[in-house]
Symmetry: C2
Subunit: 246 residues, 2 copies
Amino acid sequence: MTDSKKTAPSLSLGTLYGVGVGPGDPELITIKALRLLKSAPVVAFPAGVQGRKGRAQDIISPWLNPDQVQLALKFPYTEDRQILTEAWKVASEEVWLHLQKGRDVVFASEGDVSFYSTFTYLAQTLQQLHPEASIQATPGVCSPLAAAAVLGIPLTIQAQRLAILPALQSVAHLETALSWADVVVLLKVSSVYPQVWSVLDKHQLLDHSYAVENATKPDQVIYADLSKRPRLQLPYFSLLVIQVRP
Amino acid sequence: MTDSKKTAPSLSLGTLYGVGVGPGDPELITIKALRLLKSAPVVAFPAGVQGRKGRAQDIISPWLNPDQVQLALKFPYTEDRQILTEAWKVASEEVWLHLQKGRDVVFASEGDVSFYSTFTYLAQTLQQLHPEASIQATPGVCSPLAAAAVLGIPLTIQAQRLAILPALQSVAHLETALSWADVVVLLKVSSVYPQVWSVLDKHQLLDHSYAVENATKPDQVIYADLSKRPRLQLPYFSLLVIQVRP
């Protein structure tokens, strides 16, 4: 009810809706996202790898019906800017083919649609290639909120300062975060876990640190104290919550 | 489906469910929160002030039915610790009366239930007074995610660092946040807006700063550039998104 178009849509064009579908439990999707998802003729999502379903696809599959066109868009796991840019263009043109014919496309993004989401690249590329495209975003529950809920702890209270960072490229920033924030969330921590553990050990924060794998999914795992876990083997989509000053 | 009890519940006790009901648009509640809300014999929420409905109450009112007991719990707007502690105790005992009789209570919290939420105080006080109480949290969409969606911008991408802080008591921390983070979200900014504006001006960030009032509500207001707005009169629940290094 509070939607507003970014650009005035021409009558014959469909709209691209980016919807956050939540952290994993299919019930943690919003009513609005579900309504858009069920009513769209075309549903898009990041393609899975190695023959497996993608994560967003997995979340939404209970809600889809066989009449809907399903578009698995390829977003390669690489940091090569040229490969990525090309993939975003290809995905945008696939979406555009439908929008042009007046069909709405709903793109499902795990978690929230504005929070480290593939949707950003799709939307920005589509807007560049076809400025007349109408694009709307519907927010969803992101993983740090899901992690706090399953841990049974508050993420933040009162005047607490919260820092969120993807650990993959910025272990160096962790020290600054720990000195500034009351609560720190580290995303994508798996590849740098041993270094992160050492920093937390130095600051005597291990017993105030939590690791969560696949929050709200059937394979969810929780580690509520990292003191004796210097070498956890975490999957890619794991996060740490560190209560620096509880 | 991934719920787990914090304490083994005795069979005769009801459970306190804290549910985040999203930022304002009643459609931005999750399926799970709605299911819990509709099926609970008792629905609780923070009481409104001055005869008005509370904000969570406002969001959930389209979903309630007349048979449900509605508990408006008083959480005074004060920083007096003694008054607050007493209010939390009174609220917890009101909830406990129902739990004791085997009735589930769903407490609705605007936004998310772990993110600067009144639910934390209710849950912690209840747990202290009645350790046998069973408490569960269901996450919701928090306001920064809603703000990004209605602004049509990503909140964060790639390796960006995000800092979130309530401005009310910590304007002094803003400078540090600006030096550390790529994106800064300031909550509850109304009372300190002129000082915040000066800091953003000094850092030449005003044209990369957004203010959002009541995101996703009918009275939503967006300011997409703060350069010419040194004296905005914002309501209490407004937030700023600052793209420090876009």
